[in-house]
Point group: C2
Chain length 218, copies 2
Amino acid sequence: MFSLSEENYLKAIFHLERSYKSGVSTNALAEEMETKASSVTDMIKKLSGKKLVNYRKYQGVKLSELGRKTAIEVIRKHRLWEYFLVEKLDFQWDEVHDIAEQLEHIKSEKLISQLDKFLGFPKRDPHGDPIPDAQGNFAVSNKILLAELEKSKTGICVGVKDSSVDFLRFLDKNNIALGKEIKVLEKETFDGSMLISIENNELRISQVVSNNLYIKTY
Amino acid sequence: MFSLSEENYLKAIFHLERSYKSGVSTNALAEEMETKASSVTDMIKKLSGKKLVNYRKYQGVKLSELGRKTAIEVIRKHRLWEYFLVEKLDFQWDEVHDIAEQLEHIKSEKLISQLDKFLGFPKRDPHGDPIPDAQGNFAVSNKILLAELEKSKTGICVGVKDSSVDFLRFLDKNNIALGKEIKVLEKETFDGSMLISIENNELRISQVVSNNLYIKTY
DNA sequence: AATTAAATTTAGACTTGTCTAAAAATAGGT
DNA sequence: ACCTATTTTTAGACAAGTCTAAATTTAATT
């Protein structure tokens, strides 16, 4: 099987491919992995040697079919464990990421299939992201930033981009929490702020806030 | 915190200290860890530098207080995960060791305390071994080999030493299973075989069998 | 098309944990 | 007490994954 580092790189490439359609750049990957570009180049060569990515020097990387399959397996494990932590062990949705980051590398097919069954084959993790099934199929995420939601439209709060204590505290104070419904009443073009309604309250939030809050639409 | 390798060495030393009261020898540790004596010496030096073991050249190692505490934490995690796998994910007691071997290295105090609570603070793992509590206290194991059980005494089957498929199949065929009560009716000195009763059946087993079956006494 | 800036790759080094082969220390038998 | 066999340690090397610094390629600007 693949090493912990290899799996983490595959996962990062998978996530970055959404924004880098023509190939994930070395620098983007270095930033995502919190490492140096030179280390990324070394690892890309190894992944390429194992047929996990397609790579041409200076042209960025794309996952191969095998690489994509492997990345999805890791993501499946990550999200199932997050669901387990929140639903069974009473963790808060913002505490689970680092632990799932470790658990996702445990090697045992049976463990994951049994865990999936035990949890009742959940379709989404606590952040609203879809959980791939054993075949690697999963719903396309309809998660967007609140800032992208149009006027008069409604969505459900499913996650944060900035998970700093300050930001979470601000959300708490304003009664913005996971699972709550948010409707956009007004959008100001000059500063990007918006007026929203949440649980019968009206509230004006800045673009910084709406750019760091994920919502799910239908 | 400590590395995966370091934790595994501490665990191995902890287990070997039962038989090597005056210090665990380099060779014994090498065999347990399935590595070479020279690698063991290197690692012992590192553990010694971190104050996890007391070490004098050529004299073997003993765990320090910190080392013992750390080893017990790892063992606690291992046994809690084994319990989880059997009780919640429907694993068989003989399938869980390798997975628990990976899970025991996940770093999160809260994860383990929540898991412990979720499982109902179990006292023994599926093999009958005691699970240390959060303070590191645990019952002394009264697990012995069936071969060591005296005539007319009774015990409960809690594990196997040889876990080969052949042996497990033999046990199945003779209705010997985890949790069942076994009484020694006769012991033959000339070949070490014994006559036992299990669920109202009488059965003669060779010394090879009784030397590979663990039972718990009271 | 030439020059410069930015991105990427290479070269060489370091750490962790392992190995082999050789040297040193201990223990047992006489 | 000495010699030998065994155990343990040292020395030097290697693979994985990372780093810094330098070299190379690509992209952008004039």
